[in-house]
C-alpha cells in the first residue's frame, strides 16, 4: 500500500513541476529540478523503514483489513479484543496511586516551535493540546495543582503560578500573544525554576514536570546533569514529549526520574502521548525511588501522610453579598472555611486565612474509582440452556448465533460475566462499566 501511494504522489508532483517552472526558468534548470525531485522520491521510499523511536508505534490505519465482504466488522472486533486484553493487564486489586499531584508544565517557546511540520504550527497545536490536557487533567485529578513555565530566549519564564483552579490555569494558556515563541530554549533554567517553585511542597505530595519540547538543542548556563541529580534527590518525575526527535539528555532525564518519554510523530500521536500522562501514576517502589532513598534524602522514607482537610459550607446564590478573602470581590455565592469561617470563591483551595485545605466531598469521591476498581468480567465460552436472554445492564438481547471469527479474549457469544454476581453483560456494557461507571450493575459495587 504505501509504495503505491508514494508513486501516485510522485506523479502529481512531477506533473506540476514540469508544467510550471519550464516556462519560467531555463530548460536545464527545470531538468535539474526534476532530477532532484526524483532523488527526493527515492528518499521517501526509504523512509518507510521507521526510525528507532518510531518502532514501538503501530500505524493503526494500516492494520485495519477489510474482510471478503468489504466489511470492517472483523477489524472492529479485533480492536475490541485488543482493548480488552490491555485492560486485563491492569490489576483489579486496589493499588496505590498518587492522588494529590503537583505538576509543572514546561512549554517550549523557542523559535523551533514556529516550525510548520504540525498544522497549523507546532506552537498553536501545543497551546491547543495543552489547554485540553489541563482540562482533562483536572477532571481526573481534582485535587491536583498545575503551574506553567515557558522556555524562551535562553531563560525560563514563569507563565503561571501553581494553582488548583482549572479556569486560572487555562487563563495562563489563553493569551497567545504573551507566549509568542522566540530565541533558544534552556532546559536547565526552566527545570530549576520549576523545581524551586515546588520546593515548598510537603513530602507526601508528588512532584512532576511535563515538558513539551520542540527544539533539538538546549542553551544552558551550567551542567544539566547536576540539575538532573537534584531533581532525583527531590523525587521530581520528569516526562518529556518531544516534537522533533529524541534527544539523549531528555531520554536520560525521563529514565532516571521514572518519567515517560515519547516523540510525537504527527498531530494525533502528539495528543495520544500527551494524554497518557493524565491518569494518576501507580505508586510503586520503583528503581529511582530506591536510588534516591539510598542517596540519603533521609526524612521522608514513607511518602504517605495524614492531611487535615475542611469540608466547606456552600452559600446559596440568594444569600446577601459579601467580600471574599481571595479576590476581595463582592459576591453572594461562595464557600465558608469550616475552621475560620472565611469566605472563598472556589474549591478546592487552601484557605487564605488559616491555610486549611478546603475540598468538597465530590472532589474526593471523584478519585475513589482509581482506588476501588471493578473486577474484570470473564468472557463466557459456553452457554447453558437457562442463561439470560438479554444483557443484565442494558437489556439488549444477546445474539443467538455463535460468532464465526473468534479472537483471543473475546466471547463467541458476546457475553461477559461478572465473577461476583454471575450476571451476563454485553461487550458495550462491559466497556462502559469498566471505563466510565466503575460500578457493576449487578452487585452494585
Amino acid at each position: 500500500m504505501p509504495p503505491r501511494r508514494d508513486a501516485d504522489f510522485m506523479d502529481v508532483d512531477s506533473d506540476s513541476d514540469v508544467s510550471l517552472p519550464e516556462d519560467v526558468r531555463g530548460k536545464g534548470k527545470g531538468k535539474a529540478k526534476a532530477g532532484r525531485k526524483k532523488d527526493k522520491g527515492k528518499g521517501k521510499a526509504k523512509d518507510t523503514q521507521p526510525y528507532t523511536w518510531e518502532a514501538s508505534y503501530t500505524r493503526s490505519w494500516e492494520t485495519v483489513q477489510e474482510d471478503e465482504a468489504g466489511s470492517l466488522q472483523s477489524a472492529v472486533e479485533d480492536w475490541l479484543a485488543r482493548g480488552r486484553r490491555k485492560r486485563l493487564l491492569n490489576p483489579a486489586t486496589p493499588i496505590r496511586r498518587t492522588i494529590i499531584r503537583h505538576l509543572m508544565l514546561l512549554l517550549d517557546l523557542s523559535s523551533a516551535m514556529l516550525d510548520r511540520d504540525m498544522r497549523p504550527t507546532r506552537f498553536d497545536l501545543t497551546l491547543q493540546y495543552a489547554r485540553e490536557f489541563v482540562a482533562e487533567w483536572f477532571d481526573q485529578n481534582p485535587l491536583g495543582q498545575i503551574g506553567v513555565v515557558g522556555m524562551r530566549a535562553g531563560v525560563g519564564e514563569r507563565v503561571g503560578e501553581m494553582s488548583g483552579n482549572p479556569q486560572e490555569v487555562l487563563g495562563y494558556l489563553k493569551e497567545r500573544h504573551k507566549l509568542e515563541p522566540t530565541g533558544d530554549p534552556s532546559l536547565q533554567n526552566a527545570i530549576e525554576m520549576a523545581r524551586s517553585s515546588m520546593s515548598h511542597l510537603p513530602t507526601h505530595s508528588s512532584r512532576e514536570i511535563v515538558i513539551i519540547y520542540g527544539s533539538l538543542t538546549t542553551c544552558d548556563p551550567g551542567n544539566i546533569h547536576e540539575t538532573l541529580e537534584t531533581c532525583m534527590k527531590d523525587r521530581i518525575r520528569i516526562s518529556v514529549v518531544a516534537l522533533a526527535a529524541e534527544m539523549k539528555v531528555c531520554r536520560e532525564m525521563c529514565d532516571k526520574t521514572g518519567g515517560h518519554f515519547a516523540v510525537a510523530m504527527n498531530e494525533g500521536h502528539f495528543k495520544d502521548v500527551l494524554f497518557e500522562l493524565v491518569p494518576p501514576p501507580a505508586q510503586h517502589a520503583s528503581a529511582p525511588r530506591i536510588i534516591s532513598n539510598s542517596a540519603g534524602t533521609g526524612t521522608g522514607s514513607t511518602p504517605a501522610d495524614l492531611i487535615m482537610m475542611g469540608f466547606p459550607t456552600r452559600l446559596p446564590d440568594a444569600s446577601p453579598p459579601s467580600l471574599c478573602v481571595c479576590h476581595s470581590d463582592l459576591r453572594s455565592d461562595g464557600f465558608l472555611c469550616p475552621r475560620c469561617l472565611a469566605k472563598v470563591c472556589d474549591v478546592p483551595t487552601d484557605c487564605d486565612i488559616c491555610g486549611l485545605m478546603i475540598v468538597s466531598s465530590p472532589h474526593l469521591a471523584r478519585s475513589y474509582h482509581h482506588l476501588f476498581p471493578v473486577k474484570q468480567y470473564e468472557a463466557v465460552m459456553s452457554v447453558e440452556a437457562d442463561a439470560a436472554l438479554a444483557c443484565h445492564a442494558c437489556a439488549r438481547p444477546f445474539p443467538t448465533a455463535i460468532s464465526a471469527t473468534v479472537t483471543d479474549g473475546l466471547s463467541p457469544w458476546a457475553r461477559y460475566q461478572c465473577p461476583e454476581c454471575k450476571q451476563d453483560y454485553c461487550s458495550d456494557c462491559d466497556i462502559f462499566v469498566h471505563d466510565v461507571i466503575h460500578c457493576c450493575p449487578g452487585c452494585g459495587k
Binding site: I307, L364, D428, C429, K445
Partner: protein, 360 residues
Amino acid sequence: MADSRGSHLSVVLDLSPSQWHLSAENPPTNPFPLSLSSFLSQLLTFLNAHIASKHENSLAVFGAFPRKSILLYASSNTPTSDDTMDANWFPPFRQVDFTVVRRITEELDSLEGASEDEAPTALVGALTKALCYVNRIMQPPAQAIAKPSDKVDLSTLPEPHILILSVSPDLATSYIPIMNAIFSAQKLKVMIDVCQIYGEDSVFLQQAAHLTGGSYILLERRDALLQYLIMCFLSPQSIRQTLSVPTQDRIDFRAACFCHKNIVDIGFICSVCLSIFCQPVPVCSTCRTKFPMKTLQRLNASRPASANVSNRPSPSPAQSRPAVTSTNGDTPRSHGLSELPSTSSINAHTRTASNGTKSS
C-alpha cells in the same frame, strides 16, 4: 425551532415494601398518606404524558427492590403481545400500564415469603442499569459502526434524562457507587432529577441532582404528586432553561468519615487512598498505610481547636440543610437549634444502615 429530537426518560422507582407501608399510614402520624397503588396510578399518568408529548419520546422504567433491581419496561424492546388489545385504549399507553403493573406485582408477590428484616433496596443497581441503558440508546446503530462512510447524524439521538423516585433513606455503603454514577452521568450529559416522596432529605441524591443540573424535590404534599411530576419533571433538558423549575441551592457538601460514619466538617485524609477519618489515626484502615509519628503529634496538638468547632452548634448545618419546616406553616424556630436534630438523625440512619448490611 422544530426539531425531530425526542427525549428519553428513564424512571428509577424505589419499591421498598416497608417504606411504602409507612407512607400509606393514616393521618395522625402521617399528614398526607400515599399508598403504593395510588402512587402507581399517578405515575402511570405521568408516563403516559411523557409518551404523548412527542412521538419520538422513549421510556424505560427500572425498579429497585430489596437486594435486586430489574428493568420493568423499555420502549425499545419488542412488545409482548400476550395481552388482548383494547379498542378504547391507545396501544402504547396500554403497553406501558400493563407491563409496569404486571412486573411490579410479580416481583412483590415473590417477596412474600422473605424474612422479616428487609434488605435495603438496590437503588445503585437500578441507577447503574439506567445509565447503561442510556449509553446503549445514545450509541449510533450498529450498521453505522460497520460502515464508517455513512455519516451518523448526532442530532437525531434522543435527549436523555433520569428521574429517581425515592422513598428510602440514604445508605452509607452506597456512597461511592452513587458518586461514580453521578460522574458517569455528567460524562454522558444526562440530567438526574430526584423526587424524595417519603422520609427525610437524601443527601446523596441531592448531590446527584445538583451535580448533573437536575432538580431535587422533597415532596411535602404527597397527595399532589402528579402535579409535581408534570410541572417539574416532564420537560427535557433543553426546555428547562426557559422554564423555571425548582432548584435547590443549599446542598450539604460534607462527607461522612470512614471510621464512624459521622458527618465531619474537618476531616483527616490519608494521602494515599483519600480515606476520611474524624480523628488522627496511626494506620489507615483502608490501605494499611502507616503515618509518621510527627504528623500525628502535630495534628493531635492542633485538634482541640477543631474539636471545638465540630462540637458547638456551628452555622454550617443550619445553612447547608434545607429549611424543611419553613413551608409547613410552623412557627419559625431558631436555626442553630432546630437543625441539630436532623444532623444527628442522619448519623443514626447511617449507623443503622451500616449495621443492617453487616448482619445480612
